[in-house]
Symmetry: C2
Subunit: 331 residues, 2 copies
DNA sequence: AAATAGATTAACAACGTTGTAATTTTAATT
DNA sequence: AATTAAAATTACAACGTTGTTAATCTATTT
């Protein structure tokens, strides 16, 4: 069907091994022949056959990404970034939306060079259920997995936020986030809040912890409305995600509350601000670009066969912008 | 690295061609040997090498999906469905989030059996920029493409909704949707509304057409709030998407309006209702399961080499549930 | 002009699998 | 027990590519 190097060889009147070398710009072939061959390849619309190539090279220059939930928005920005970085190194990423085990099996059959698994909130899978000869990297919470993992210290992130707000004088600090048991990633954030506030559980701070049932904009909107109509003495809010924060801002503007004059907000997530919100957000978290870079490096490294140090926890940073101000600043 | 059929052959004391046949359950090998071989394969954790297989079979049992925007939620449900259907036929789907041209090139190198391109709102690409020997199927609006395309008659869908509402006595019918020029798919819906209402453009129905700047829940929420606080005589709303509808319902409940008593709603999109909204929605559109089935069939068909009739427009259907009622029904 | 080193090109095995043709084993018939 | 047909197994080429080794060409030196 497709054009092969043999077709090109015939057209060019050379052997097909010369064509192979020419196309990969080997120094073993003379410039003029190289140019001639490349031109013919171009004309014929030649596309190298990965199957054949990876069969002999045992390399496909492809990274398989296990992406069990296409529906989440947050990780999308991250995967796009990672994709771009890998493209620079002439790697291609391919996503699978199948169940983790079967996605990994598929990628093994395809002999991808590495597999990146996005830690799923629901399924924490045991290593034993996985069969792979391709190296695997996890992104997300490490539970009982022994595969190398990259994760963010979410707990510390929220603590940073609490501590900062306390330093600048805030006393009544609320937390809006998803506390549901199913998502360990979200739970980490809540625990960070509890620890920073010196309590053990949500019930000890009934007025300050507003659980949402998701991470969408309207979840934040509703939580904020509930919170702010009952508790007028709250001076600062920590939000569990970027989308929640957008909802919170929507609520404040509806209640005619000015940020940061009437209310300080620090948001988890450190993604480039796409929407034009009324204020630039103070955030806490690891910038996606940094996460992407780390994952990229780790991927490249495990491909080389260098076992990376088993687990990398990225430390969050605090970014102060215009959504928070010292307590009493405007009085 | 990986286990090959030759390894299995050695363990089983048979030739590797027997192993190949045994693993594909060929009638050419005796049952006992077959069983023995399969057990060994299982034990060794054998994974067939797609590269080698597709090299000789010229088939990879894989469908490449060009997925330029991982961030959209609506198509996610669809692709998940398609994935499931194809899995039944032992096909695997792999997504690429690269630019259309380069995604198609990648899939050609991988010798996938077919490529499914999700029509992107922004890029309407010309055929000439595409180099492919793998058959392509488009989902979405057909512009100047000559590739086979499957699309939904969005214009007619909205008309159906308008006509039905008129039949049951509604006069003041509003439309909430994205009218921005960048997305031809959304524009089609608006045109459907204009045509059904016998006007040429939005400006002729200033109070009845509420443009949103997106298709998210809060876009619907805001549009509905604007609409309903200015116009108390509106008796029915047609919504451009499922998410918008969710926002609209949020607004009505906040304004203490009862659906369908005070307001009838018909929503575009026909997806299985996951959230538990207060009412079951009357919808207009093509059920995702039907779209998925069509795409699935078309894909399988073009793989067989049967050129499908160039373009398939799916006709929408009206589903009446509890979110709309005849005008004056409750008086 | 012959010899030789260096540059360029060609030949060919290998990768893991499948399909076909060839061979061996088994069972049935005489 | 010898023949034969059927069943089961094996051998081997092929898929498109790469890397290594072998062959040829070119230019330089004598």
């Amino acid at each position: 069907m497709g054009i092969t190097i043999k077709d090109i060889a015939k057209h060019a009147g050379v052997s097909y091994s010369t064509v192979s070398k020419a196309l990969r710009d080997s120094p073993l072939v003379k410039k003029p022949t190289k140019i001639k061959i490349m031109k013919i390849a171009e004309e014929l619309g030649y596309q190298p056959n990965v199957a054949a190539r990876s069969l002999v090279q045992k390399k496909s220059f492809t990274i398989g990404v296990v992406w069990p939930s296409v529906e989440r928005i947050a990780p999308s920005i991250l995967i796009t970034k990672i994709n771009d970085l890998l493209e620079e190194k002439s790697y291609t990423t391919l996503l699978s939306i199948n169940k983790v085990e079967s996605a990994i099996a598929t990628f093994n059959r395809f002999q991808v060079d590495a597999i990146l698994v996005f830690g799923e909130n629901k399924t924490v899978l045991s290593d034993s259920s996985i069969q792979t000869t391709v190296p695997i990297l996890y992104y997300g919470l490490k539970e009982n997995s022994t595969y190398p993992t990259i994760d963010v210290n979410r707990r510390k992130a929220i603590k940073l936020a609490v501590n900062y707000l306390q330093e600048i004088g805030h006393k009544k600090i609320a937390f809006i986030g998803d506390l549901s048991d199913v998502d360990p990633l979200q739970k980490e954030k809540a625990i960070g809040f509890f620890e920073a506030m010196n309590v053990k559980r949500a019930s000890e701070l009934p007025d300050l912890v507003i659980p949402t049932n998701g991470l969408e904009v309207h979840d934040g909107f509703h939580a904020a409305k509930t919170l702010l109509s009952n508790n007028t003495d709250i001076t600062a809010i920590i939000s569990g995600s970027y989308d929640l924060t957008r909802g919170i801002l929507r609520a404040t503007s509806e209640l005619a509350l000015h940020v940061p004059k009437d209310l300080s907000i620090i948001s988890y997530d450190n993604i480039p601000q796409s929407d034009n919100l009324e204020v630039t957000l103070s955030t806490v978290g690891v910038p996606v670009t940094r996460i992407a870079k780390q994952i990229n490096e780790a991927l490249l490294s495990i491909i080389e066969g260098n076992d990376i140090q088993d687990s990398i926890i990225l430390e969050p940073e605090l970014n102060i912008a215009n959504s928070c101000a010292p307590f009493g600043w405007y009085d």
